[in-house]
């Protein structure tokens, strides 16, 4: 895979990363490290330096809240969960995603 292609894939991933986070949190509350693992398993390559600031942004936008929880081992975890506003936003992003897919299909014709 050349650099150009990898860069293009990265662009596409970036575009939906915020959406993916809301999707995952809609299923269950999670802390950053576990989100990281889930996203990597889904081939959404992300690194800490991207995820942490993004969670903070989404929290500052009122889409997420968090609570601290003890960990069975290691430091405490910051569990994020969707707010009502976050759920509304997710619904809007579902629409946006469908529209993008439709747009590409249209352009492909």
């Amino acid at each position: 895979m050349d650099n150009i292609t990898e860069n293009a894939r990265a662009q596409m991933r970036k575009g939906v990363l915020e959406y993916c986070i809301l999707c995952l949190l809609a299923k269950e509350d999670a802390y950053a490290s576990s989100l990281l693992t889930q996203l990597k398993e889904a081939n959404m390559i992300v690194v800490e330096g991207t995820l942490y600031p993004m969670l903070i942004r989404q929290k500052n936008q009122g889409l997420l809240t968090y609570r601290w929880e003890e960990s069975p081992q290691g430091p405490p975890r910051k569990y994020y969960s969707l707010t009502d506003k976050g759920r509304e936003q997710l619904a809007l992003m579902d629409d946006a995603w469908r529209e993008i897919i439709a747009t590409i299909e249209e352009i492909k014709k």
Copy 2:
């Protein structure tokens, strides 16, 4: 539509803009202004300050070439067309796009 949502939509669009350009040029050669019109008609909001530098980048990557053509009225037009490399890249981006869609579907489960 609030700012957060508009921003999220914009992020998604950005992610596929390079892809859209290659898709459009695969159908027929075009000059920047007409690409702008086509993209806007497809709801892919773009402005000149985004499109022109992007075309130059893609040309510098060897994905596009251009030729000048007289316009029926107004200044000459820079018609872009896909190179062989551009067509290869487009095929790779088709794959990347399918993968992203699959990833979201997976995450949505």
